[in-house]
């Protein structure tokens, strides 16, 4: 696809001339852990579990098969609540779109160990829901330790991703509906040509993205005792102490991820090419009944994905005192979580601002940049980045950070920089260049432009990007279990290690403590997301 070209500001005169080369270097540096991990996977030292061991025999293929089966089922299940939410959302005021999307993405913003703990408490062998189902239907084998229930639990973590993609597609679909009415298309014809056919691509894209994230989730399947390639990677690394073999198993998944993302981009290309004005101007149904039904559908979906597991956790934890005790025992880990995730969020914010501004500039000029390459880090298995980061920390150059939390921070940055960059790019692409050009033309110095023109307009968005990076870092586990330094674990890792050894009341209380810690940050992120883009793009 050819980029749109329009007049844009020359970088050398913007006072940000150094940002261009800096962004290119940064893009390459962000890929360094991935490159090192890939190199590590080819190392001869990995004789115990190298490519030949995994992929020359059936071991790797079986792991891949189990992973794809679980992830595909999860992706399929995720489409159901996503479509319910999106279809119901059409009946709600447009200003609610952001809030609904944010609610749908909430399960992705809490640690996977928390959700897994909650689902084990609800749907484990001794789970509250399991017992309730058994009482009514007898033993139907409903347990998160079985594939369908595990897939459902995973789907309820990642369905927000599908909802985001489909919400974009729905706006495009809405644009076609009035034309269908005007030209008196039959109901069947309108359904087929204006709804179903245009929805195929975005639906496939949503499915592929959920598939990718479910495949790269190493934690939830492991806690549900389902052996996927992710759990094998962790075992290979942590139990068999074979980083090269772990990398050899994970590396081909990076290619699978790249293919999935490419296919998703192709399938949903119409969904994310921006919203046209006709769609934005499209009137919505205003009947009270349809609004009530829509709101009820959304509440039901959110209740199943969030409220039920949290309620079960609360029931298992027993009392506020248990929460206090669990927190007291995990105070060091809480502090450590705040420190590393805060540092990762701050670094993410600065670097994402550099990369996104470079990306926007290149897109407007129709020139090339390496900035979008950082998105690769989001598509590859997180454990691969973790292994790469460990290998990097082993080099003499980075010896000073060995056994400190910094490799963990750098790992988080490498992993979540793409999310923050993508968020800023999507917003900044819509910001007109004229106000900055006006400052330049009228002789406002670069510093004053930054201080008085750019910062007031973009600060909330930047903070939102930083907070998102911090939140994702605080809830990340795949890399954390590999990279936490001795004696400085995080809350998520503590919960992950306690899940099969500590009493359920303790793990439930700890899970709720985590939720209480990240909850305010999630709310703040939602607030920034509501205010920031509006100020950045619309200037309100």
């Amino acid at each position: 696809m050819r980029a749109t070209v329009e007049p844009t500001v020359t970088s050398s005169r913007s006072g940000t001339g150094f940002l261009g080369p800096a962004a290119e270097v940064l893009s390459v540096l962000a890929l360094l852990p991935l490159v090192v991990a890939l190199a590590c996977s080819f190392s001869a030292a990995g004789a115990d579990g190298g490519y030949a061991e995994w992929w020359g025999t059936s071991r790797g293929w079986l792991a891949l098969g189990r992973t794809v089966r679980l992830a595909a089922l999860a992706a399929t299940v995720a489409l159901v609540p996503a479509w319910v939410l999106v279809a119901a959302g059409a009946h709600l005021p447009r200003r609610w779109d952001g809030a609904v999307a944010w609610l749908a993405c909430l399960p992705m913003l809490v640690p996977s160990s928390l959700l897994a703990t909650a689902w084990i408490a609800a749907l484990g062998r001794e789970g509250a829901v399991t017992h309730a189902v058994q009482a009514v239907f007898g033993d139907v084998g409903l347990s998160v330790f079985s594939l369908p229930a595990a897939a459902m639990a995973m789907a309820l973590r990642y369905w927000g991703l599908a909802a985001l993609v489909l919400a974009q597609a729905r706006r495009r679909l809405e644009a076609g509906w009035p034309a269908g009415r005007v030209f008196r298309l039959s109901r069947t014809s309108a359904l087929v040509h204006l709804v179903l056919r245009p929805a195929i691509g975005p639906t496939a894209a949503a499915w592929l993205l959920v598939l990718l994230f479910a495949m790269n989730d190493h934690i939830i399947p492991g806690m549900f005792l389902i052996s996927t390639y992710g759990t094998q990677v962790l075992i290979q690394y942590a139990a068999l102490l074979d980083p090269n073999g772990a990398a050899a198993l994970a590396a081909p998944m990076a290619a699978v991820g790249a293919v999935a993302v490419a296919a998703a981009l192709w399938g949903g290309r119409r969904a994310w090419t921006g919203l046209d004005r006709s769609a934005a101007a499209c009137p919505r149904a205003r009947r009270v009944l349809s609004r009530v039904v829509a709101a009820a559908a959304i509440v039901a979906v959110l209740a199943i994905s969030l409220a039920v597991p949290i309620a079960v956790l609360a029931h298992r934890a027993g009392s506020w005192r248990a929460l206090g005790e669990a927190f007291a025992a995990a105070r060091d880990q809480a502090w450590q979580t705040l420190l590393v995730s805060g540092a990762a969020g701050a670094v993410c914010m600065v670097l994402a601002a550099i990369l996104a501004s470079r990306w926007v500039q290149a897109a407007r000029r129709g020139s090339r940049t390496a900035a979008p390459l950082v998105l690769l880090n989001l598509t590859v298995p997180p454990s691969l980045l973790g292994i790469g980061m460990i290998q990097l920390a082993e080099t003499p150059v980075l010896a000073v950070v060995r056994d400190t939390p910094w490799p963990l921070v750098f790992g988080y940055v490498a992993r979540f920089l793409p999310v923050a960059t993508l968020m800023l790019y999507a917003l900044w692409r819509r910001v007109p260049v004229e106000p900055v050009a006006a400052a330049r033309v009228h002789g406002v110095s670069p510093w004053r432009t930054l201080r008085h023109v750019l910062w007031p307009k973009h600060r909330l968005t930047l903070l939102a990007a930083g907070l998102l990076g911090a939140l994702l870092a605080a809830t990340e586990l795949e890399m954390s279990v590999l990279l936490v330094p001795p004696g400085a674990s995080t809350l998520g890792v503590r919960l992950y290690t306690l899940i099969h050894t500590a009493p359920e009341s303790v793990t439930s209380a700890l899970a709720l403590d985590i939720l209480l810690l990240v909850g305010p940050a999630i709310l703040l992120f939602g607030l920034l997301l509501a205010l920031g883009p509006r100020r950045t793009v619309e200037g309100r």
């Binding site: 844009t8 500001v9 007109p432 008085h452």
Partner: protein, 338 residues
């Protein structure tokens, strides 16, 4: 006279699409130059080049002596010059108040604080924004926003003023109001002004000089009256207003085409093949059943009428005091001008 701002063979291309080619244009201090051209002719790009926001692919922008066509002079560095610009969209800073806009721009002028404040107050009064000084752009009307954009461009008393469709987003009374303020602001200014627009009626009311940009090339530039009256081509003429072209053989005070008289009232000494570009006010129509011209339709333009007349397959607009039935035959004559 001081230095002039001169484009010398300026060219620009987006990727492989040329937008400007060999543009030569002078902006003279104290005079208003108007750049007219249809959408996509390269006006925006040329203004952005002059503002230093993009660099020309070829050619240079210079500051040189008036009348010096040699191409000598020092490069024009927009960063070092006192430049003001009104953008096509107001391009205001949404988070700043009206007063904040002027304060931010004048803070970079190097003047003392009291002088900056005096200038800002004077500009607010001049643009009738004094009572709105604490308001933000989102709370202003379209006209007020545009007045603020003009005030911002003028507050530092620039040497060069670039106006890019300054009335584009206004209509009705707001447009007339802002136009009046703009005209007052430009009257007696010492700045060299370049106004880019496709609204030729307003442009010609302000212009001392006009440059017509067609397909990225300056098709004609010069005194506004001269360009309007003596266009080098029909395309240039039509850019500045309605015009038609009549071709024929001039002899004995008439223009004939294939033996048919198509235009009367020419100078008696005019002879040979002629190509005349005529505007509605240049030609009169007189009903005559034996005439070669036919009225196609009649339209009201302001207080008068314009007739669309066809003669030997050529259509042109003619000013006329009253409406005429379609199909009315008549004769065309020059209205005392050649």
């Amino acid at each position: 006279m001081g230095k002039i701002l001169a484009c010398r063979d300026v060219g620009f291309a987006y990727a492989d699409r040329p937008v400007l080619r060999g543009v030569r244009l002078d902006v003279v201090p104290g005079r208003v130059s108007v750049l007219v051209g249809p959408s996509g002719s390269g006006k925006t790009t040329l203004l952005w080049i002059l503002a230093g926001l993009i660099r020309p692919t070829t050619g240079r922008v210079l500051l040189c002596e008036f009348g010096d066509g040699s191409g000598a002079g020092r490069p024009f560095d927009a960063r070092r010059e006192r430049l003001g610009m009104v953008f096509q969209t107001p391009a205001l800073w949404d988070h700043l108040t009206v007063e904040g806009h002027l304060a931010l721009v004048s803070a970079s002028s190097g003047l003392a604080r009291t002088e900056r404040r005096r200038r800002a107050d004077r500009m607010l009064d001049r643009m009738r924004l004094a009572s709105l000084r604490g308001r933000r752009p989102a709370t202003l009307s379209g006209g007020e926003r545009q007045r603020l954009a003009i005030a911002r461009a003028l507050v530092s008393e620039p040497d060069w003023l670039l106006l890019h469709e300054p009335l584009a987003h206004l209509d009705g009374p707001a447009r007339a109001d802002v136009f009046g303020l703009l005209r007052d602001a430009l009257t007696g200014t010492r700045a060299g002004v370049l106004l880019a627009t496709h609204n030729t009626a307003e442009a010609l009311r302000l212009a001392d000089e006009v440059a017509v940009l067609l397909g990225g090339v300056v098709a004609q530039a010069g005194d506004s009256e001269d360009v309007y009256r003596r266009p080098v081509s029909l395309a240039v003429a039509q850019t500045l207003g309605p015009a038609g072209e009549l071709r024929g053989e001039a002899a004995g005070g008439v223009l004939t085409c294939g033996g048919t008289v198509i235009l009367e009232g020419l100078a008696r000494d005019l002879a040979g093949p002629r190509r005349l570009i005529v505007r509605p006010e240049d030609v009169t129509f007189r009903a005559d059943p034996a005439g070669s011209a036919r009225v196609v339709r009649s339209e009201r333009v302001g207080g008068s009428r314009h007739l669309l007349v066809e003669v030997t397959g050529v259509r042109l607009w003619v000013q006329h005091p009253r409406a005429c039935q379609a199909g009315t035959a008549g004769r065309l004559a020059l209205a005392g001008r050649d």
